[in-house]
């Protein structure tokens, strides 16, 4: 009896959860479908769901007209570069906070997190002015630096929580055996820290890829990443649904795939450990 009831409940839960999941996912699904339609089918009434002439032409047109590859390349450089730079700066800091904690470690960590809460618009003009003076406006270098700085607190924080999980006794044992600091880092710490570093990289690439305040305000045609590329479709003259959909699909696909691998890191990285 009990088994039958739970089985029925499970079926009900499954149906409900799938229905809700599909509703939430629908805008993305619809965008992907529309990207394969002709412009006529894209705005047809009644809407065509699956039975339309599937075509790839939108993808090639978007590439030809707007030079999608250049924006994609800018996104890759900006997201990848800022994350890499952030990791280089953050690893030593997180390492020392996790393994050589002092009385002030907690205060420093908290202070770092608090810089993340500074609203970007509050410092928009100073950054804009500095970019003009230093010739960084509309350059990838400038964005790599800014995105590195805005994500640095999260990178330090995530690495710190991962490093904290590495047992300190192992390091002490290595020290007893006469390992130097360099050997300690290279042969003991690094292998144990790689998974944590990889997770941190993953989340920060996603955050940098989707960042849409500084990328919109500090770039123009030259260094604009995909966020700016899509924003250029907001003018009504250039609007075609199928092409907009193709451009959107290409902009979000890489990160959707990465994102699915990073669900756990999301909780850790964005709640600053306040939820476990």
């Amino acid at each position: 009896m009990a088994r039958a009831v739970t089985q029925r409940r499970k079926t009900f839960n499954t149906a409900l959860a799938w229905a809700v999941g599909l509703v939430i996912f629908f805008p993305i699904l619809w965008t992907i479908l529309t990207s394969f339609k002709t412009e006529g089918d894209a705005i047809a009434y009644p809407p065509k769901f699956l039975f339309f002439d599937w075509t790839l032409e939108n993808y090639s047109i978007v590439q030809d007209r707007s030079d999608y590859m250049r924006y994609l390349w800018n996104s890759v450089i900006i997201a990848g570069g800022s994350t890499l730079l952030g990791i280089i700066v953050a690893v030593p800091a997180a390492w020392s906070m996790a393994f050589v904690p002092s009385k002030r470690t907690k205060d420093i960590l908290m202070w770092m997190l608090s810089t993340k809460m500074l609203p970007a618009v509050g410092v928009l003009y100073p950054i804009y002015l500095m970019f003009i003076k230093l010739g960084l406006l509309d350059t990838r270098t400038g964005l790599v630096i800014v995105l590195m700085l805005i994500n640095l607190p999260i990178i330090v924080w995530m690495l710190y929580t991962y490093f904290k999980e590495i047992p300190g006794e192992i390091l002490e044992a290595a020290r007893m055996d006469g390992a130097t600091l360099r050997e300690e880092i290279l042969y003991i710490l690094t292998p144990m820290a790689i998974p944590g570093i990889a997770s941190t990289v993953l989340l920060n690439v996603i955050l940098a890829w989707n960042e849409a305040f500084w990328t919109l305000n500090l770039t123009a045609a030259k260094a604009g990443p995909l966020t700016a590329f899509i924003a250029s479709y907001s003018s009504p003259e250039g609007l075609f649904y199928a092409k907009l959909s193709a451009a959107s699909t290409m902009a979000i696909a890489p990160i959707l795939i990465l994102g699915w691998f990073s669900q756990k890191q999301l909780v850790r990285g964005l709640t600053f450990g306040a939820v476990k």
């Binding site: 499970k10 939430i24 030593p92 906070m97 810089t115 509050g122 410092v123 003009y125 979000i252 306040a274």
Partner: protein, 288 residues
Amino acid sequence: MATKASRSAARVMMAPAVILLLGWMLVPLIMTLWFSFRNYQPLRGGDLGFAGFDNYIRFVTSSAFWPAVVATLVIVVGALAITVMLGVLLAILLDQPMWGQGVVRILVIAPFFVMPTVSGLLWKNMFLDSVNGLFAHLWKFFGATPVEWLIENPFLSIIVIVSWQWLPFATLILLTAIQSLDSEQLEAAEMDGAPVLKRFWHIVIPHLSRAITVVILIETIFLLSIFAEIFVTTAGAFGTKTLTYLIFQRVLESQNVGLGSAGGVYAIILANIVAIFLMRIVGKNLDA
């Protein structure tokens, strides 16, 4: 156990991150503060001298200020209410035994990874458009007149877009929290004959209270500064000019840097009030 040598090594290793963040925080902040006390208009004569608190007073007394405050509050509170309520329900649903749980989780979380400019534009054109949007089709199908969503209901439209983006975040955090709930406690309550609603109010909600607080605080910090969603949909028209957008326009579009900087200082103070509460919770967890 740390030796003196390793302590000084630690300090050296920490230095780059600390110096960079200190510079990143202090330099622009001091510049914003400086500009906020100047009558500085780059396109109209440059720096026209000390302005005292004029910019601060003019910012809050301008006709655009209170509408911007209202717009900000409506969007933040609306999106928070929707994401937290639906997030709790979704987290409970996803915690139940079912087939294909992993796939459903992926479907629910996906919107969070869509870049803000894409979600703004795809909602604006493919759903909310009054001629070719799916909602317009649906309205026509039922014989109703299609609605110009972004013009007639601009707040509702933006709240829907923003909630769609942030619901996955709320759900994921709350799901993580709910999974640590002791299922025996729930079963015991069920055995004692406590009805579903009572179990929900007296066991699930109290257990989730801290996670809900964290979701509200973190979302508030991000929602206070939403920009791209408005930039690509209404561009601040139809009353959707939030504080962030108003400051952006003052600073970059009309290049009244003094006035915009004073607005920026207000925004910083506002964000810090929220941040203090969040940091308190984070700090408690660091001790534990």
